[in-house]
């Protein structure tokens, strides 16, 4: 979460993730009312908000990270901060910062065409999500318009660390591979190297670990610990 507790720390943590073997970094742009997020990311967003972090500061941070690394950078935020900046200014600034993609969990397929059009114009990927509740036909429609990859929401519920993976993910991923030609990245509750290992052999092309790292970054505030944790996670994908 960018700006939790401050942007300098986030920069160190993001670099630690990349050193640890992350293929891609997601920067959270906080929103006051994150309905898709569980306790860890809610709390991190509140801290970022209290610290006075602004979305434009996060774009500056992205630009700094981009200068030091080639790892793809994604922003994860809600629609309202994007609308408040203005769709086109947001797309232009994000492109100038070197942002590769954007994930907006409260942007449904139905409401996505306008923003996708603007982001396409700036060559930024708008990543769409599929959920456990998404019927096959709808998943195909989502797969057809998503950019970069399809974000597979692993479970019913919000983000947040969990001790187990939901059942049936392997068959869901198989079915999704039939309908979507893009890579599939799985997230929401993926928390441990064990989870990562299981997913890597279940058909996931990418694995998103959010809350577990956010929590670690906040509680230990130690880039080396985060780097070691990410290395352990990554070893599940590349043994």
């Amino acid at each position: 979460m960018a700006g939790d507790p401050d942007l300098a720390t986030t920069e160190k943590m993001a670099l630690a993730c990349i050193r640890g073997g992350a293929d891609l970094v997601e920067l959270g742009v906080h929103f006051s009312d994150p309905i898709a997020d569980g306790p860890e990311i809610q709390a991190a967003g509140q801290r970022a908000l209290r610290a006075g972090t602004r979305p434009r500061d996060v774009l500056d941070l992205a630009a700094r990270l981009r200068r030091g690394s080639d790892a793809p950078l994604l922003l994860m935020t809600y629609l309202n901060p994007v609308l408040a900046m203005g769709l086109t200014p947001f797309a232009e600034r994000a492109a100038a910062a070197g942002v590769d993609g954007v994930i907006v969990p409260d942007l449904s397929l139905e409401e996505s065409p306008e923003i996708r059009g603007v982001l396409d114009g700036a060559q930024i990927d708008l990543v769409q999500l599929v959920a456990p509740s998404t019927p096959d036909g709808r998943a195909a429609a989502i797969g057809a318009v998503s950019r970069g990859f399809v974000y597979v929401v692993a479970r019913y519920g919000t983000t947040g660390t969990r001790s187990d993976l939901p059942e049936g993910l392997r068959s869901r991923l198989q079915a999704l591979h039939h309908t979507a030609s893009l890579p599939l990245a799985v997230g929401f509750g993926v928390s441990t190297p064990d989870h990562v290992r299981t997913l890597a052999t279940s058909g996931a092309d990418g694995i998103v670990v959010g809350s577990a790292i956010v929590r670690m970054a906040a509680e230990e505030a130690d880039p080396e610990a985060v780097e070691a944790f990410v290395r352990e996670l990554a070893s599940g994908v590349r043994p």
Partner: protein, 396 residues
């Protein structure tokens, strides 16, 4: 592809801005609602509950002494305070709970601000045998303690929400998180004309019984339609219910009273349409109170039920098209109207409703004696007696 069209728009407002997990549930709800609307038995059953359980129709009462005190237009009160549970919230909840049962959902959740919607949901859950849980901001749990206990007596579990500003907006956040987690088995009974499509439409339709009755009663009692309708606006359900049947009657003016809190100029208020700008919150595009970066603002109002930084998308559209206008009534003005109504008419109004009463009195003074103002008295004031006592420096 028809399936992916943007739905439920009022001009640029409304829509379905929710996590994908909820989209199939919204599509299911929309289909179930259309099916229910086409079924005369659904209508008949709701009507039966409205009459024999809810106490409808509620009276349209000529407030003689209030009218004399203002010296202008005749003021009538639509007595939703006499509805079962003490507020208009019953109208919506009964309809949605019947829909939940029809959809075979074994569990119902709701959010609440003042606690009136929570109490109504608890009643409907009890009478239809649907286990119900209610989310409520912890600030509201304190200031509406009476309603929290009423819910418990009705067999409903109340979850205090500690996140954010600990008021209605945060209760909705938490209800949405519950729904995302338990969506297949759970009906989310939202309490106002807010949220993603189809909720603003469903809630408006169920609340429109208010305006339909006003229309019939006005014709019967005065042989004409009112000149002005006034209702308070939190999320906007009692106002939309009042206004909707009159949208085509353009000679009838529509006025919404928002919570001016300590005054618009102080920034401590909840007057979303008066002072906000468009954005997306809780599944819909509408006016919002927010900062420059799109972070939702904290709101302030003496009335928990108006303490919300968003507003129903159709009201946003009525504002832009100028079919309705909106004014801010401060805490002090609402309290003044509360005392006026108590002493002149023997009615203790909800503090939310007192905002409408103040706006109605203010306008009536400037109107002719042969004109008619109808103010919707959305609820009764028992729940607010503690708050009013405190404002007078009285410890109960």
């Amino acid at each position: 592809m028809a399936e992916v069209a943007s739905r439920g728009k009022f001009g640029p407002y409304g829509g379905q801005f929710v996590p994908e997990t909820l989209m199939p549930a919204l599509l299911e709800l929309e289909a179930a609602y259309e099916d229910a609307r086409a079924d005369p038995r659904f209508e008949a059953e709701l009507d039966d509950y409205n009459r024999h359980y809810g106490g409808r129709p509620t009276p349209l009462y000529f407030a003689r002494r209030l009218t004399e005190a203002c010296g202008g237009a005749r003021i009538y009160l639509k007595r939703e305070d006499l509805c079962h549970g003490g507020a208009h919230k019953f109208n919506n909840v009964m309809g949605q709970a019947l829909l939940a049962r029809r959809m075979g959902k074994p569990r119902m959740i709701a959010e609440t601000g003042a606690g009136q919607h929570g109490v109504a949901a608890a009643m409907a859950g009890a009478v239809l045998g649907i286990p119900t849980e209610v989310y409520m901001g912890s600030v509201d749990v304190k200031r509406q303690a009476l309603n929290v206990f009423r819910m418990r007596l009705l067999g409903t579990q109340v979850h205090a929400v500690d996140g954010g500003s600990q008021t209605l907006k945060d209760a909705i956040n938490e209800a949405l998180r519950d729904w995302v987690t338990n969506v297949t088995m759970t009906y989310y009974c939202i309490g106002s004309v807010v949220g993603p499509h189809p909720y603003p439409t469903i809630v408006r339709d169920f609340q429109s019984v208010i305006g339909r009755e006003i229309k019939d009663q006005a014709r019967e009692q005065m042989g004409r339609l009112p000149d002005l309708l006034v209702a308070c606006v939190g999320g906007g359900s009692n106002s939309m219910g009042t206004f909707a049947p009159f949208l085509e009657d353009t000679a009838v003016e529509l006025l919404g009273a928002e919570a001016g809190g300590e005054g618009i100029e102080t920034g401590r208020h909840a007057a979303t349409l008066v002072a906000g700008r468009p954005g997306v919150l809780h599944g819909a595009r509408s006016y919002l109170l927010q900062d420059e970066d799109g972070q939702i603002a904290d709101t302030f109002s003496v009335s928990a039920g108006l303490d919300y930084p968003g507003v129903g998308p159709q009201l946003a559209y009525l504002k832009d098209t100028k079919r309705a206008s909106f004014t801010a009534v401060t805490d002090a003005q609402a309290l003044e109207a509360f005392h006026t109504l108590a002493t002149l008419e023997g009615i203790l109004p909800a503090l939310e409703s007192a905002h409408a009463v103040f706006a109605a009195m203010q306008r009536a003074r400037e109107m002719d004696r042969d004109q008619v103002v109808v103010a919707t008295l959305s609820g009764r004031g028992d729940k607010d007696v503690q708050t009013v006592a405190r404002s007078m420096g009285v410890e109960l």
